[in-house]
């Protein structure tokens, strides 16, 4: 099992979710984050005091899936989240050793 973690632009969330449900993935967890990267931020000025806002609003999506689905998940997210503009985000994949569904105690693949 893997977790596919993606950083995306906030307004792409619905499209990404639709793409995932389209390939049969029906669970995910979303976190509001701030990202720093190539995409540059903006400056706010309050009565002459300038504050550079370098961290831009992004969403982090975490999807736990069976290892064999990872490719499809990456493709689905990439496809849906892509605007071609700088700042579209990243996808990272890392392994998980266990998964448990709290309600039932089911584990691993059954837990997803």
């Amino acid at each position: 099992m893997k977790i596919v973690m993606a950083i995306i632009k906030p307004f792409k969330l619905e499209e990404v979710r639709d793409a995932l449900t389209g390939i049969g993935v029906h669970g995910l967890t979303v976190t509001e984050v701030k990202g720093y990267g190539r995409q540059k931020g903006h400056t706010e000025i309050y009565r002459g005091a300038e504050y550079a806002v370098n961290f831009l609003p992004k969403l982090k999506i975490e999807v736990a899936v069976a290892a064999d689905l990872v490719k499809k998940v990456i493709a689905a997210i990439s496809g849906a989240a892509k605007t071609g503009q700088i700042g579209d985000g990243k996808i990272f994949v890392y392994p998980i050793e266990h998964a448990v569904r709290i309600r039932t105690g089911e584990t691993d693949a059954d837990a997803l």
Partner: protein, 430 residues
């Protein structure tokens, strides 16, 4: 017209009253319900300027960790000043000192605890109860204004001691000088609704206070961006709305003088707000909400001394000058001089008050106000400004140094870092 004497700070109030006697010989002073209705309303409006107006204007500009502490300062100062005004400060400001020499500087104690005020007492055409409460609301907002300069870094106990002592030793005497029969009113200084008494006074005290306290920890390096300007919008709007009680209420009657004061207030405020906004639009390429709000307050401040003395075209000019002047002071000069007046009380109230006081001398018109003819002169206004600045600066500094020595002015650096809401009040916004 009599009613205007009460506030227009022409000769001394006492003089005015003596002078008035013949006029009233056949014509005993009588309560006017219309004037009273307007002054009851004005009192309500000026109270609303501080709570919730000023509280929100300031609260929206601080960081989220200090918002409750900031609004609490306005609220607690409202309570403390109310009680002190009743106990002693009203008397110092408006009672005649039995010693004629001292009366130039300081009122008597005969009206302490509202002594001598009864169901028949009138001030002009309104019950003295109403006059005393109306003036109370001015005594509330003036010290509350100062606290913008030391926002986010003063101990709550020190705030209470400072504002309490300042009311008694700075505000009440200066109020007496100008409106209560003291030497500035006697010298012909014009101050319709408090440009000198309220705004220059609080602006100077603010500058002194922020210099003595020193800058906020992290000033200039970490972000101190306003956490929610929606609150500041509410606050500035309520200040504007309530300011009609301040300015038109200072006519002490529901008449054409109140009417022209209202029209002037609206024109000057709008002009100053637009001026600040366009100045900023030119300089930093974006018109900001904080900018237009700040400009509006600058206009309100500057028109305050002039509201009942000038015509609307004068008000328009006063607004424009205040918009530019306060913009430069709050944004560019402060930046150059590097002091940390957190919410620009000096830049707006101090500078705006001085601009307004001087231009009152320039634009006062006897077509609007008969007394303007006698009194209006930029030099006299300048005299009033200087006297106020000197006394206010020295007295405020003394009070602050005493408090610093006895209980200290600031929380620890770690506490300031954590935020005053939690540290001082044990509360937080979710």
């Amino acid at each position: 017209m009599t009613s205007r004497n009460l506030r227009a700070g022409l000769p001394a109030l006492i003089a005015a009253m003596l002078a008035a006697v013949p006029a009233f010989a056949q014509d005993e002073p009588k309560l006017d319900t219309g004037d009273t209705a307007w002054m009851l309303t004005s009192t309500v409006l000026v109270l609303a300027m501080t709570i919730p107006g000023l509280a929100l204007f300031y609260g929206g500009m601080v960081r989220k960790k200090n918002v409750l502490a900031t609004v609490m300062q306005s609220f607690a100062v409202t309570c403390l000043m109310s009680v002190l005004w009743f106990l002693v400060a009203y008397s110092i400001a408006f009672d005649e000192n039995p010693s004629e020499g001292l009366n130039a500087y300081f009122g008597g104690f005969g009206k302490a605890l509202f002594g001598g005020v009864n169901m028949e007492s009138l001030t002009g055409t309104i019950p003295e109860w109403v006059f005393a409460t109306f003036q109370m609301t001015f005594a509330i907002i003036t010290p509350a204004l100062i606290l913008g300069a030391i926002a986010e870094r003063m101990k709550f106990s020190a705030v209470l001691w400072f504002t309490g002592l300042w009311l008694i030793f700075v505000y009440a005497p200066i109020c007496h000088w100008v409106w209560g029969g003291g030497f500035l009113g006697g010298a012909g200084v014009l101050d319709f609704a408090g440009g000198t008494v309220v705004h220059i006074n609080s602006g100077i005290a603010a500058l002194v206070a922020c210099l003595i306290l020193g800058p906020r920890k992290g000033y200039g390096t970490t972000s101190m961006a306003p956490h929610n300007l929606t609150f500041s919008l509410i606050g500035a709007s309520l200040l504007w709305v309530g300011w009609f009680g301040f300015n038109a209420g200072s006519a002490a009657a529901a008449n054409a003088l109140a009417g022209v004061a209202m029209a002037n207030t609206q024109v000057a405020t709008a002009a100053a707000a637009l001026t600040w906004m366009f100045a900023e639009w030119i300089v930093i390429k974006k018109p900001s909400l904080l900018g237009i709000l700040s400009g509006a307050i600058a206009g309100l401040v500057a028109i305050t001394p002039a509201a009942g003395f000038v015509a609307p075209s004068g008000a328009l000019v006063i607004g424009i000058v205040a918009g530019v002047g306060c913009y430069l002071a709050s944004v560019h000069i402060k930046k150059a001089l590097k002091y940390d007046d957190s919410l620009d009380v000096f830049g707006i109230h101090g500078v705006g008050g001085i601009i307004g006081a001087l231009l009152t001398g320039a634009f006062a018109s006897s077509m609007v106000n008969a007394e303007a003819a006698e009194g209006a002169s930029v030099a006299t206004q300048f005299y009033g400004i200087i006297a106020t600045i000197i006394y206010c600066a020295i007295a405020s500094a003394i009070i602050l140094f005493i408090i610093k020595a006895v209980i200290g002015l600031r929380p620890t650096a770690a506490e300031e870092e954590e935020g005053l809401d939690i540290v001082l009040h044990g509360e937080s916004v979710q």
